[in-house]
């Protein structure tokens, strides 16, 4: 077995996310699998313990160096599975949880996995979570034969799983984008710390696909357009003095364009943006816009140039020599300038979760939650498994107007939606 690395540099996205981490905030996301049977915590702990050694990129803790944060293998026991809580995606705090940057929870038949975004993106986290679920099912006595989708936990990890794919694909030409316009912030009064309002909408993939097909769009394009329309209408209803653009941050998994087996971060953000001052938009207009925008933006050369620009920023010699305690506020300000201010919300759709046929009958649905944003506005995430599409709105603001407009749009379009939320419990019980 090859000797384990003593430490890892953070990748480009990890550098930014680690700069944002503080006592009351850290970018954390959650994937959940709702099983057919109630969860057996002991079997889940066994599964986690068996899977962790196979995934060194998740078995890390974050440390502060003189100039940068870095990862090192975490020798402490854990991570331990624990009963779920009503306020998910809590910040990752120094020295808490034995320094683990990932967490496992269980509630009824739901298994949840939370990760600090500096560790991995959604694609890497799903590969890891799928392996944990497979081991869990095996612990429960279900036969899960080897499958190309499931790495063998007895084998050592491949070197490509730990690679910094941003660095690998960064070229020479960098695309320097101008500062984008400030977008509509969609904030509401903040909830007391630490409350995360989560509202999930469950719908049929077949119904959604049929509706998207009517417009000649994919499910992602259709949902993006509905979200844009909901936000446009919400801003207009607030009657501001001057309407601001509505812009979404849509993370794109770069592995589809730049082959890489990395389980660390490797994604880029697209920014579809509509200007409400130009007039009224119909859903058809927005779907057409999103469809063509995606088509134009998803080209290899441009994406590579953007990656190069981002990598050059973090490799900037001047930035390199600034001590970490000074660099953190600079990076946090840069993040606010280029990744918060110009966006109204994030909409991520990891797509259909691919599961081996042997696992599919034991998993009712998958869920995804994007944790708190840097301001009290909701983020949106969607995921599907089998015929169940799950769309989550999560945020620390009190208003539920965005999700109300979004889901009622779908209902009006003829798509039945079932809504579940942790708001129901927080406010009534």
């Amino acid at each position: 077995m090859p000797r384990e690395q003593d430490w890892y540099r953070l990748d480009n996205a990890g550098v930014l996310y680690s700069a944002l981490k503080k006592e009351k905030y850290a970018p954390v996301y959650r994937f959940s699998a709702v099983m057919m049977e109630p969860v057996d915590p002991e079997a889940l702990q066994q599964a986690v313990d068996r899977t962790m050694p196979r995934f060194p990129s998740f078995r890390v803790r974050i440390r502060k160096g003189a100039f940068w944060c870095y990862f090192e293998p975490n020798p402490k026991p854990g991570p331990f599975v624990r009963p779920d809580i009503s306020n998910p995606c809590q910040p990752i705090r120094d020295r808490a949880d034995n320094d683990w940057l990932i967490r496992f929870y269980y509630y009824e038949s739901r298994i949840s996995f939370e990760a600090f975004h500096a560790v991995s993106d959604g694609s890497g986290a799903l590969a890891f979570f799928r392996a944990v679920l497979a081991e869990y099912l095996r612990e429960r006595g279900i036969d899960i034969p080897p499958d190309p989708l499931l790495p063998d936990v007895a084998q050592p990890p491949g070197p490509e799983e730990l690679e910094d794919a941003y660095g690998r694909y960064a070229g020479k030409r960098a695309l320097r984008k101008r500062l984008q316009k400030t977008a509509y912030a969609n904030t509401s009064a903040p909830e007391p710390f630490y409350t995360l309002n989560v509202t999930m909408g469950l719908m049929s993939v077949a119904a959604l696909k049929a509706k998207a097909k009517e417009y000649g769009a994919t499910i992602t394009e259709y949902l993006t357009a509905v979200l844009l329309l909901s936000l446009l209408e919400k801003q207009r209803a607030e009657r501001p003095f001057r309407e601001k653009p509505i812009a979404l941050a849509i993370p794109v998994n770069l592995r589809a364009w730049f082959p890489s087996g990395t389980l660390r971060n490797f994604m880029l953000t697209l920014r579809p943006c509509v200007d409400p001052t130009l007039g009224e938009y119909t859903l058809e207009d927005l779907i057409r816009y999103v469809h063509h925008f995606m088509g134009l933006s998803l080209n290899r050369a441009e994406m590579r140039a953007v990656v190069t620009g981002n990598v050059k920023f973090t490799r900037n010699k001047l930035l390199k020599i600034i001590p970490l305690f000074l660099k953190k506020p600079i990076m946090a300000f840069s993040y606010w300038l280029v990744a918060v201010r110009p966006f109204t919300a994030t909409f991520t759709n990891p797509g259909a979760v691919r599961l081996p046929d042997s696992m599919q009958p034991h998993i009712r649905r998958m869920e995804v939650i994007l944790g708190q944003a840097t301001r009290p506005s909701p983020h949106c995430a969607a995921i599907s498994c089998g015929d169940v599409m799950e769309v989550t709105f999560a945020g620390t603001g009190t208003s539920s107007e965005t999700e109300r407009r979004f889901f009622t749009h779908l209902v009006r379009e003829g798509i039945p939606v079932k809504v579940i939320s942790n708001r129901s419990q927080q406010e009534v019980r």
Partner: protein, 235 residues
């Protein structure tokens, strides 16, 4: 199954209201299942806060070693008629009071921290006055000025803690505080140096502050103007 009469979405059997529009669920054919398990847990949890002992010890060690080194240098190597190291030792002690108690005692009330900081500044200035044989100016000028500053800061802290003020009100309070401090400072200086109040430069500050306060208060008082300011500045 129940549906929200307002939004048209299907609701969970345990939901007592629609999470989207807060319309209560009333379905005589299918009452709310109050005993069933909810889709999300009801128990809240919080990640343990990071212990700040290590940082407090590190800062204490840094300040302590700086004070000790200067004291030793002053005693054995850089001997002067004036014990210059006292300034460094006093400054280190003052910084320690500023930084370490709030680090260790998370629940230290802000008014108490403000008083503590004011006392630390007062004691540091006393040390300087004692060293320079200047207890007279300390008692009649420096101490009242420090008390005035601490009182103004304390009043601000209490006001901001008690009420969530709008941006306009916050600006008005800050400008008024600066004006009061400047006027008080000149009053104390005049009393000490001339024995009577002869306002001069503080009047300029007071007039400028007044010129800024009046439009702020007018906008604050008139709802139409306040609304217009909110729209114009998007606040």
């Amino acid at each position: 199954m129940s549906y929200c009469v307002n939004c048209g979405v299907e609701l969970d059997g345990t939901a007592e209201m629609c999470p989207l529009c807060r319309t209560p669920v009333y379905n005589p054919a299918r009452p709310v299942d109050r005993d069933g398990s909810t889709p999300f847990p009801t128990e809240r949890g919080e990640v343990a806060l990071d212990s700040r002992w290590e940082v407090a010890v590190l800062i204490s060690a840094m300040l302590g070693s700086a004070a000790l080194c200067c004291g030793l240098l002053n005693l054995f190597f850089l001997l002067t008629s004036q014990p210059w190291s006292l300034y460094v030792i006093g400054a280190a002690a003052m910084l320690w009071v500023f930084i370490v108690p709030p680090l260790l005692w998370r629940k230290l009330p802000l008014p108490a921290a403000t008083l503590l900081d004011g006392a630390a500044v007062g004691l540091y200035v006393l040390l300087i006055a004692w060293e320079l044989d200047g207890l007279d100016w300390y008692l009649h000028l420096a101490l009242p000025a420090t008390i005035l500053l601490a009182a103004i800061l304390l009043a601000q802290v209490l006001l901001f803690q008690k009420r969530r003020l709008s941006i306009l009100s916050t600006m008005a309070v800050v400008i008024a505080s600066v004006a009061v401090f400047v006027a008080g400072l000149e009053l104390l200086g005049d009393l000490y140096f001339h024995g009577g109040w002869e306002p001069s430069w503080s009047l300029v500050v007071l007039i400028v502050a007044g010129a800024l306060e009046i439009p702020l208060m007018v906008v604050r008082r008139v709802p139409k103007l306040r609304k217009e300011a909110r729209r114009r500045f998007h606040i």
